[in-house]
Symmetry: C2
Subunit: 399 residues, 2 copies
């Protein structure tokens, strides 16, 4: 009887909410059970002093931990959460430098996003949670009251893959109502990510909006294709360290080169108002995307006058192969330097994956007399660095 | 010593992958620990007979369950997963009708997305996992080899909220390179969702692409604003059932009406090539968005000739108030029927939240001599129904 009355109340409340604009789901769940600490739990909570508290309601769990990209950047620690007597686990980290951060929770060995946080970053095979610590240091990438370009999700027919494929394209403020033609920047993500990465955790649209509002960059279109390629069907099996692995990986990389040069660029140049020549094309990529940039740009210098290689490089064992593949790029440095408006290398000093390879690449360019810029930043192999590289690099383009 | 050797091997492998295009993260994690069942675990797995297996590695958990929208639709059950001796929990449900489905897992009381599934649907305060059971019944919403429109994420300055706000806008194939002007369909989401919902779980772009390729709909722009509004600062506190609640909710709803009529529509008509008159504007919304549609459209009939109300309605207690607010709409049915090209109501027969309200709305229109269509579908208050309503309704627009 009590249950029936409570159920009628629920229906009445729901109808009220339905008619009036509040979530019927939230309403529907209200009167059906006893409240728990989870109902009002907030996570993450960014405190005024820039410390951050993570909380999760998991009364039955025996171990909960948090890990995030501020750790690899050397900005703080993560670790085990502590449980209170109501079943809420929590930890406070920081203070953190104002920035955007990504993290995941691990509950009894299961990696999960923060159930209380809807701000997410999507990868090919995983999802992370995100948060912002607002402040002056993060202003260059913040959503502000400035004119905003659009981010477009564009589906096109990929001949290389024989399937529909998506890319994200940023068009600057004024593109829609104007008639001007724009230069194009092809911006590549890293391994495990896809074409949405630069627009979510990468903040590419907001970074460009802020640069343009401050007149620190030229208006440009930014094309962010999907660089995660299925390996060709005829490629050798992938066994790390096996003789066939390097060959198979090169085939995968060439598949992306084919996709970019013969599908993505022609699509963009057919459908957008662009300046379609090498001096008005830039390319840059991080990590795997830096490897793709190195595979594509030096051997297609007529197509890209601006080259950015971030948190990537050429390791010593690959040096000879890289020189051989790019003989034309290296053989006449004067000619190369004339065509190449910018070769910009960025890497974190704590980046164990890429620091040595980036430095080796710089040495290699130096030895051949190719002009480049080398920027070593703090921290590691993180989006924290890549957003700064984008902001720094974009200011130098198409000048 | 052994640890050091293994760490060197890791670095060497990572450099190889970095140079060659495979995720350095995946590579970096390879040699550092013993493999677990989680490494190769697949979830969800859609079986050839349309049953679906969910799996999660959670060796320490004591209870895991799955819940999804096929349950509310009456297409099957969810429930508890069973644990094997390796710590992998699993359950097989279905067979399910080919469609897109959303679900979440609950591990020892903690609601989470499926850690092995990167296909997600984002809400205001929560994230769900998604999967597709491919097949003929789902073809109308599938990603196919047809021309595709773009989905644009557009930021604009909201005067009503004094903040930047985003909306999603679908432009049909050919918009970018053409010169024609298009009619505009304003498509509203439900409570708990935001402006991305119709483009992810709602499949709006793909549904329109498929209709256009089959010449079953007129080319149109579809504008999907964010309908989740913060309540006005001066609104009464929200206590369900309290005398002030209905007033406070009406104020929130009017805030959205203001946003749509005075910010969103002017922005769209300034920046896009649109036919800017009532005969070329449609509006529709689901659940909370249906309530918003009812708040906006009948009192602005000169602005919207096509009206869709999905899984929403007017409950009996609100009938008198609704009639009073819309006296002009009801007082001269001939005039109203002449301006109104379509009033389309859709609701699921098992929709406990909205079925009665939708039927009451239909009765009300009938009693006043207003022409409408009433469509009762199978199932409940789910995206499964809303995608079908969109496909059915869009075919009738701008004829």
């Amino acid at each position: 009887m009590a249950q029936q009355r409570s159920s009628c109340l629920a229906v009445a409340l729901v109808l009220l909410f339905l008619a009036s604009g509040v979530s019927p789901w939230a309403a529907a769940q209200m009167p059906r059970r006893e409240p728990t600490p989870n109902d009002t739990l907030k996570s993450p909570e960014v405190l005024p002093d820039h410390r951050v508290t993570f909380r999760i309601y998991a009364p039955k769990a025996s171990e909960v931990s948090v890990s995030g990209d501020w750790i690899a950047q050397g900005r703080g620690v993560g670790g085990k959460l502590e449980k209170d007597d109501k079943g809420v686990w929590s930890i406070t980290v920081g203070p953190l430098v104002p920035d955007f951060y990504s993290y995941t929770l691990t509950v009894d060995g299961v990696r999960t996003i923060d159930p209380k946080n809807a701000m997410i970053k999507q990868g090919v095979a995983s999802v992370d949670s995100m948060f912002e610590v607002p402040g002056e240091e993060a202003a260059f990438q913040a959503l502000g009251p400035v004119p905003h370009g659009d981010i477009r999700i564009v589906w096109y027919q990929s001949k290389a893959l024989d399937t529909m494929r998506s890319m994200h394209i940023y068009t600057p403020p004024g593109y829609e109502s104007g008639k001007a033609k724009y230069p194009v920047f092809y911006l590549l993500h890293g391994g495990g990510d896809e074409d949405s990465g630069w627009s979510t955790i990468g903040r590419a649209g907001f970074i460009l909006d802020n640069l343009l509002a401050a007149k620190k960059a030229k208006p440009m279109i930014v094309v962010m294709p999907n660089g995660s390629m299925p390996r060709p069907a005829n490629a050798a099996p992938m066994m790390p360290g096996s003789p066939g692995a390097a060959t198979a990986n090169a085939a995968t990389q060439d598949r992306f080169a084919d996709e970019l040069l013969n599908n993505v660029i022609p699509y963009v140049e057919k459908n957008y108002r662009v300046l379609a020549n090498g001096e008005n094309r830039a390319i840059a990529g991080l990590s795997m995307g830096g490897g793709q940039t190195l595979r594509i740009a030096p051997s297609n210098l007529d197509k890209f006058a601006y080259v950015g290689v971030w948190s990537s490089g050429v390791n010593q064992q690959m040096t000879a192969d890289f020189e051989k593949r790019n003989a034309q790029f290296f053989e006449s440095p004067d000619k190369t330097n004339k065509m190449l408006k910018l070769f910009w290398i960025g890497v974190g000093e704590k980046d164990q994956l890429a620091n040595a390879g980036a430095k080796n690449l710089a040495e290699l360019l130096k030895a051949h007399g190719i002009t480049y810029e080398f920027h070593e930043s703090e921290g590691g192999h993180t989006w924290i660095n890549w957003r700064h590289y984008l902001s720094d690099y974009a200011q130098l383009l198409f000048r």
